[in-house]
């Protein structure tokens, strides 16, 4: 899966949590929690959705790596290439 496709999935799942926002329009290095007003329950929902959709289990200690869109795409791309 290309990074472009991953980014699209990340943005779709963020949109599911924050439907009134436009995740595609925020910067790649912005903290999505701040930019889209996502709380801990929302973020857990995001992680859960990525797990379900991409079969990538993000452990809690790695949450911080997915706080930006760029970080999330890099992380997911790496994890899918090399399943741990």
């Amino acid at each position: 899966m290309t990074k472009g496709a991953l980014q699209k999935i990340v943005e779709e799942e963020l949109k599911n949590i924050a439907p009134e926002t436009s995740p595609a329009d925020i910067g790649s290095d912005e903290d999505v929690r701040e930019a889209l007003d996502i709380d801990s329950m929302g973020f857990l929902t995001f992680i859960t959705a990525l797990h379900r959709r991409l079969n990538v289990d993000v452990p809690e200690k790695d949450y911080a790596k997915l706080f930006t869109k760029r970080g999330a795409v890099e992380y997911l791309s790496r994890k899918r290439a090399k399943p741990s």
Binding site: P19, E20, D39, M41, I47, T48, H51, D57
Partner: protein, 395 residues
């Protein structure tokens, strides 16, 4: 034949708009079935039947707005007229059910007091006792602006758990002014009638967070727990030992509730918040509690929660989660007598075993109704909550 009426989901609700029928003529209705979705100033709410029967016909069209107490459907077969579940514990006054339709619930004249019609109507809308107001109108009469300035449109703080939710269609838009005035009424009433006292306590939750992290490591994302679950469960357990904070202050007396329904303040995307109850919080396992919380947050953010959930919390918890604020000084939601707050967990130096160490710290706070409890019992309660958090494995 049973008349299914527009329920009162709080003393501040006057009317509701029918959004959707979930039963059609001929359908069997079981107790607890959601019969309809109504839109109120608090948002879209699913209303339930609590008698069995057969849905015969609706009396109100979709889009129609009717006062509380108006029959909206006929449900046959129940021994008694079927009625929606409403506030078994909160004891919301139901006198509106017998009021003639469309009659505004406006107080009659008070002897010796001149209150203009406009002032009287506004006071009724905001739940204000006009006898407390000084009049500035002709002959000392109380006029509109007197009431307005007595209870200005209070901007709710994030802490004030006021039932309010935009409908799912309107999620993206700011809450309407009707909801704003409801929030204004409830918070103003709280601050006017309830003599609040406040306590706060810094609590070391390093162990709790470690335990949580360890527990979550073994779990897939959909099974993981959030710190809020520990706060809820510990609070419920503390309430068992300190029941004097669990219940309602009504008619000049505090009444204990023998069940513990903790209301959880949930921010609505786009503004406002609600505090629906998780019923029997003390009896749920952490996993069940997490499941309930997840379900509740999801439904609230879709603009759907059940009438029984918003009408009967016995106490409320407002947790700021990761919003970066240390302390919340919350506003009690009447007729409850206490509200607990939890700030953002943070790392800070603490003295433990004679040494300065970096610890995970959270500030827990309590706003108590001084008519129902005192600072001393409040402190014991707050500390009991904090102590329970030290032993997460026992929760």
């Amino acid at each position: 034949m049973g008349e299914f009426r527009m329920p009162s989901l709080g003393s501040d609700m006057e009317k509701g708009t029918l959004v959707e029928w979930l039963k059609k003529p001929g359908d069997t209705v079981r107790p607890g079935d959601v019969v309809a979705v109504i839109e109120t100033e608090k948002g879209a709410i699913e209303i339930e039947a609590f008698e069995a029967g057969t849905f015969e016909r609706s009396l109100v069209d979709i889009g129609q707005t009717v006062p509380v107490g108006t029959p909206i459907a006929v449900i046959n077969g129940g021994v008694r007229p079927s009625a929606p579940i409403a506030a078994p514990a909160a004891a919301v006054p139901r006198q509106a059910a017998s009021a003639p339709p469309m009659a505004p619930r406006i107080a009659g004249p008070v002897e010796g007091l001149k209150v203009s019609p406009a002032a009287r109507k506004l006071a009724a809308e905001r739940g204000i006792d006009v006898t407390q107001i000084r009049g500035s109108g002709p002959d000392g009469s109380i006029v509109f602006t007197d009431v307005e300035s007595y209870a200005p449109g209070v901007k709710p703080t994030a802490q004030a758990p006021i039932p309010s939710a935009p409908s799912k269609e309107k999620r993206a838009t700011p809450p309407d002014m009707g909801m704003r005035s409801i929030i204004a009424a409830a918070t103003a009433r709280s601050k006017r009638e309830i003599p609040h006292y406040y306590l706060s306590h810094e609590v070391d939750i390093t162990r709790a967070l470690k335990w949580l992290a360890k527990t979550n490591t073994r779990r897939t994302p959909d099974e993981r727990l959030l710190p809020a679950v520990l706060l809820l469960k510990a609070l419920a357990r503390a309430l068992r030992k300190h029941p004097g904070f669990n219940g309602f202050y009504e008619e000049n007396a505090f009444r204990l509730s023998d069940r513990i329904h903790i209301g959880v303040a949930i921010a609505i995307r786009g503004g406002g918040l609600v505090a629906p109850a998780i019923h029997d919080t003390d009896k749920l396992s952490l996993d069940d509690l997490m499941e309930r919380l997840r379900d509740l947050v999801t439904r609230v953010r879709q603009g759907r929660f059940r009438s029984s959930e918003i009408s009967d919390p016995t106490i409320t918890l407002t947790s700021l989660g990761e919003r970066g604020v240390d302390t919340v000084i919350p506003v009690i939601y009447p007729p409850q007598v206490a509200i607990l707050g939890a700030g953002t967990p943070r790392k800070q130096p603490m003295i433990a075993d004679g040494k300065v160490r970096v610890r995970d710290v959270i500030t827990l706070s309590l706003a108590g109704d001084h008519r129902a409890s005192d600072g001393h019992s409040g402190a014991l309660f707050l500390v009991a909550w904090a102590n329970l958090l030290q032993h997460p494995e026992e929760l």
